[in-house]
């Protein structure tokens, strides 16, 4: 794996470039810039404040001139981890398993060390040599995502490493205020990582999983928000970026339940900001329908639509709600159906897009008993008083129809 040739940033001697309005040097790719105004208004960032902040006080002293004169660092670090950090961490034996050369806890290499996320970052301490320019970040992300298939370590360990190192990538992007089309791709990949982790962490066990899950959701929300800002910054008139509709739809799925407590605005407010094109897009219409079914308690349509139309990412995010809708269905049916007509599990499984054995298991999770009727079919007798919500918050049953989804 040759990652020596990372390319370097455009400036060699000066590490800071003063960016007056409309004059940016962001990356090697001339195709990648877009309208200055939108990018300059791009301020909100995932984790860190730009090196020099433009504040209102400076502005009004500017005798009415409206130049937003902000300097952003242009990184010059040509490897995945700045040299001085790698050396320090080798010395302190602070290397993750993936960074160790032949398992040696105090030796790494430029091919293995990846820059860590640093929470206490003060603007004064940042040097250009510590910051990775865009091409290096792209290589770094590619490398990190390749680790996802690793079978050597349990998933939690892989997730933890990629979680931290991608956060550092976002930090570097933020310091340099990078917001062009290539950055969109990076953020989309990082969102995908968080979504898939969201799913995979559920089948892991251990006491650290729940907080890990929670932190992952938090970063998923943050990364999504940043991604949306970059979409907006790169938008020309009413255009929509290639994957934007799908990634916007994820927000809706995260907020199906108004009291879910996920970071962000309530949906009613969020919809106001969508462009006309987005509102009418296939993906947004799809999730708006799901929202309607969910809010109504319409388990049948909710589940069948997801099974037949959702993308893999949409499915992953919806998993908790699929679980929820299934227990809701069991709850409703147990409550309203005629006691003398037990409900066939086969039928239930068809409505809930589940295997029959899984439905039986679900009923038991909900504290309900099943039995066999005189014809030998498994049934649920209704009006049982022992219904409760399933305790295991993470147990997942397959969704029939999921096989068609591309990963």
């Amino acid at each position: 794996m040759n990652r020596r040739n990372r390319g370097s940033s455009s400036s060699s001697s000066s590490s800071r470039v003063s960016n007056t309005y409309g004059n940016r040097q962001l990356s090697d790719n001339p195709r990648a810039g877009s309208g200055g105004g939108a990018i300059d208004s791009f301020r909100r960032r995932a984790d860190v404040v730009p090196v020099k902040r433009n504040n209102d006080k400076d502005e009004s002293d500017n005798k009415g001139e409206d130049l937003t004169d902000v300097s952003f660092i242009v990184g010059t670090c040509s490897s995945m981890c700045p040299e001085r950090e790698r050396v320090t961490r080798e010395r302190l034996r602070d290397l993750a398993v993936f960074e160790r050369l032949y398992g040696n806890p105090s030796k790494s290499s430029t091919d293995l060390a990846v820059k860590k996320f640093c929470r206490t970052l003060s603007a004064a301490d940042v040097q250009a040599s510590d910051v990775r320019p865009l091409p290096v970040l792209e290589e770094t992300l590619k490398y990190l995502l390749s680790l996802l298939d690793s079978r050597e370590h349990p998933f939690e360990v892989v997730h933890d490493f990629i979680f931290d190192r991608t956060r550092s990538i976002r930090q570097d992007l933020s310091i340099q205020n990078l917001a062009n089309e290539r950055v969109i791709y990076l953020y989309e990949e990082m969102v995908k990582f968080h979504v898939i982790s969201h799913k995979r962490l559920q089948s892991c066990s251990g006491t650290s999983i729940s907080p890990m899950h929670h932190l992952n959701m938090e970063q998923l929300a943050k990364t999504l928000t940043s991604l949306y800002n970059i979409y907006d910054a790169n938008r020309k008139s009413d255009s929509t970026h290639e994957n934007e509709a799908e990634f916007r739809s994820l927000y809706v799925l995260l907020h199906l339940n108004p009291s879910s407590g996920v970071m962000g605005e309530p949906l009613s407010l969020w919809f106001r900001k969508l462009t006309f094109a987005l509102v009418k897009s296939k993906e947004i219409c799809f999730v708006r329908n799901l929202l309607r079914f969910y809010r109504m308690g319409n388990y049948k349509n909710f589940l069948s639509r997801i099974a037949s139309e959702a993308t893999y990412l949409q499915y992953c995010i919806s998993e908790p709600h699929i679980r929820e809708m299934r227990s809701v269905a069991v709850q409703y049916i147990n409550s309203v159906c005629y006691k003398l007509q037990p409900y066939s599990l086969l039928r239930l499984s068809q409505n809930l897009m589940m295997k029959e054995l899984d439905v039986e298991s679900l009923c038991h999770d909900c504290g309900l008993e099943t039995c066999t009727d005189s014809d030998g079919f498994t049934v649920l007798t209704t009006k049982q008083s022992t219904f409760r919500s399933p305790e295991d918050k993470f147990k997942v049953y397959d969704l029939i129809g999921i096989e068609r989804m591309k990963r």
Partner: protein
């Protein structure tokens, strides 16, 4: 611009300066208000602006006199702002007005009594309006609009000045409302939270002390926030308060309140009279109300689609969408009533097949599994009383009150 002589210009400026300083000395708030109200575009202000643009050295004039120079800084910024405003240079006008406002607020702090509160209101109003205009100018020049955001910061500062124990505190609600308007316009509605917390929990404030007009505006905005957050009982309380105490002559304001109150009321089963919708020009709700009355699902869907953009923008779309269950309930009731007329003995049995047929008439094709699902929901959420004999594919209605009214509570609570 009409021809003005230097002498005339000098006269106008001096006259204004005298009026301003006298207003302060004699604590004449209403005069002061008139002197500061740029957006009124009053002839005296416009002609003053012309005079200033001609004279060019108003600061010299101010310095010459002790009476005027006491407010030198305030007046210098004010004049600069007015000059820019007059020639349509709105960004400049805003920047200068911001400086004026800062200086004015400093003076205001030193005045012990609350005599200048009305004038302060004018300053707050003007700064917001000027900021909006300045942002428009910035956007049309391809630059990023950030003056309204700056105005928001200044308004917060003013709020801080008023949030004390003295008589000035009754002004805090007015400033809060200006902040609401600012945040709503900017879309940063979450910023309302901190100022709401101050108003509602700080001990220095007694809500009843505030002027009625401000209370109505406050309840309108906080009511709207509750709609966004889907807290319908709270939204109902606040918006109803605003409606009750709003000046009945202010038809535009009443319409604005109703725009949000109607969906909230609909969701708890309260239907407005047609005259109300007509009188206040709220036609977008006509078909929805009709759909609820008739149990016509197709009409509801159609109405939602027709005004989709409008409803999404005002944030009531999701509220209205939820009415679907009530429309279903109404439809079931109609089927029941029809059956009662033809075959009373068996009217309380709703066959799923019959329901599916009714839905097909409404151009909604559903298979029996879907119909069963809908009926399950209706029964569970107490919109229909009875049980589902699913093998027989029949819903058996309770003999007593099979379609309970919502009675002021949202569905399913």
């Amino acid at each position: 611009m009409a021809y003005v002589s230097m002498g005339e210009a000098h006269r106008r400026i001096t006259e204004y300066l005298n009026r301003f300083c006298d207003a302060v000395s004699y604590q004449d708030s209403s005069t002061l208000c008139r002197l500061l109200s740029f957006s009124s575009n009053s002839p005296p202000l416009l002609s003053l602006a012309d005079a200033l643009n001609l004279f060019q050295d108003a600061s010299g004039l101010i310095r010459q006199s002790d009476k005027f120079s006491e407010f030198g800084e305030i007046l210098a910024h004010l004049f600069r702002s007015l000059q820019s405003y007059r020639v349509g240079n709105l960004v400049e006008a805003y920047l200068a007005f911001e400086k004026f406002a800062n200086a004015f607020v400093q003076e205001f702090r030193n005045w012990e009594s609350a005599w200048a509160l009305e004038a302060l209101y004018v300053v707050c109003y003007e700064i917001r309006v000027l900021a909006e205009k300045a942002d428009k100018e910035l956007t049309s020049n391809g630059k990023s609009p950030e003056k309204l955001k700056a105005a928001g910061s200044l308004l917060m500062k003013v709020f801080g000045v008023l949030a004390g124990k003295g008589p000035k505190r009754v002004g805090a609600l007015y400033v809060t409302c200006q902040l609401f308007k600012t945040y709503f316009k900017l879309g940063t509605v979450n910023l309302c939270r901190s100022v709401i917390r101050s108003i509602e929990t700080a001990r220095i404030f007694d809500f009843e002390e505030f002027p009625k007009r401000d209370k109505v505006t406050y309840m309108y905005y906080t009511g709207r926030l509750e709609v966004f957050n889907e807290n319908f009982p709270a939204a109902d309380t606040k918006l109803s308060y605003a409606l009750q105490y709003c000046n009945p002559k202010r038809e535009r304001n009443i319409r604005m309140i109703l725009k949000y109150l109607i969906p909230v009321k609909l969701s708890i089963g309260v239907i407005p009279k047609d005259e109300l919708l007509q009188n206040y020009n709220l036609h977008e709700y006509t078909k929805i109300v009709e759909a609820l009355r008739k149990g016509d699902l197709r009409l509801l869907r159609h109405a939602l689609q027709e005004h989709e953009d409008r409803f999404l923008r005002s944030g009531v779309y999701l509220v209205l969408e939820k009415l679907e269950l009530q429309v279903y309930q109404r439809l079931m009731k109609k089927i029941y009533i029809i059956q009662k007329q033809s075959d009373p003995a068996r009217a309380h049995q709703l066959k799923l097949e019959v329901i599916a047929k009714a839905l097909r008439w409404l151009e909604m094709d559903m298979d029996l599994d879907e119909v069963e699902c809908i009926m399950t929901i209706l029964i569970y959420k107490n919109l229909v009383k009875g049980y589902l004999a699913h093998k027989s594919k029949v819903v058996v209605l309770s003999k007593q009150d099979p379609f309970p009214k919502l009675n002021g509570k949202p569905v399913g609570s």
